[in-house]
Symmetry: none
């Protein structure tokens, strides 16, 4: 997996996992791949994956059963959605609007690009 440079890798992995959950590819109670497995697959240090898991566990999105691994928590999808939406509305959107104004980007143009993106 390719990582952007402006955000911690462990957070990008967290997003990766959350997206799996949002897209319902991993459902409540499902076992998440092991630290080692993910580390190999994503080509990162196992410590980094471990850190992601701790981060998500602390947010009640996943939980651990000793000796068995990590699992998707109850209501994980909603939690993820709520976290992301709050973050989005409070942090991303104002910055986004500011950029649109300063860069003089037309809102209608955006719509076009969005259709393109979806397609």
């Amino acid at each position: 997996m390719e990582f952007r440079d402006n955000k911690a890798i462990y957070l990008q992995i967290a997003e990766f996992i959350c997206e799996r959950i949002l897209l319902k590819q991993w459902a409540v109670g499902d076992k998440i791949p092991s630290v080692r497995e993910l580390a190999v697959q994503l080509e990162v240090n196992p410590n980094t994956v471990m850190r992601t898991f701790e981060f998500l566990q602390q947010k009640d999105i996943i939980f651990t059963k000793r000796g068995m691994g990590y699992f998707v928590a109850d209501d994980a999808e909603n939690k993820v959605k709520t976290f992301r939406k709050d973050d989005f509305l409070q942090n991303d959107l104002p910055v986004f609007f500011k950029n649109i104004q300063l860069l003089e980007i037309d809102f209608e143009e955006l719509k076009g690009r969005f259709e393109e993106y979806k397609g």
Copy 2:
């Protein structure tokens, strides 16, 4: 000046300066406040301001005359705009679209919020 915690202060100062330029408050050839002056005004260490200036000079947005200070470079406004736009289109926008989809946010609703923001 208040700084967010998730981004280096020297970069936030760089944005501050770029916005002055974008808003045409500082025009081509204008002298930028001195390192010490800005440091006092923004309540940061002079080294931090110095770092901002080095960063912006390296991007050809400002330049230095020895012993005289820093000045806004030719065509700085366009350079700033281009850098920001490129960054926005390549990095921010895809993330933004992805969020809209995953969070199931209505595009029309956004428009409303934008009008609100502008008002």
Copy 3:
């Protein structure tokens, strides 16, 4: 390490590193000693080494892997050589020729001194 006084230390360290690369003592992909390590070895402040690294990274001669250190970039040897040669031909050589003429130094004499220098 001893430093001359008429040039910034961080630039002298940059030259030191570039020479290691030119002399093929450090090859592409090799890890460069850490900031702290070099700082101790060269008896300078870690910040000064850091500055050297930023300078060389900006010139694409070295690159960083987060949390792992700095490494010699692809094609670093050629880049170093090109930078130095350009600089030499554009700046040093004209000054050199001017001096030879003004000081009335015989070109053949130079050759002798060069043989001596090499020996």
Copy 4:
């Protein structure tokens, strides 16, 4: 006049004056243009020219008569030549030889470029 950025302007002006002397355009006893005159001509701050004069006077290359200006000192040409030659042999030449070796520049090629330069 255009100045390089890697050397203090007042020293570049000193070289400019020394070259006039070496080229016998300004002879012993000749009056040197006034601080203001040179400052205007070279497009620099008068303080900077003043500093050059102090520097050259301290090296006995020029001298001042109160209220009359600066003049070329006795034997100035030889002094300049000696200073420059010493500097050249001790400082420039070793660096020059080192560069030639590292950059793998052929000595014969140099000769060609020199002929070109002279022509």
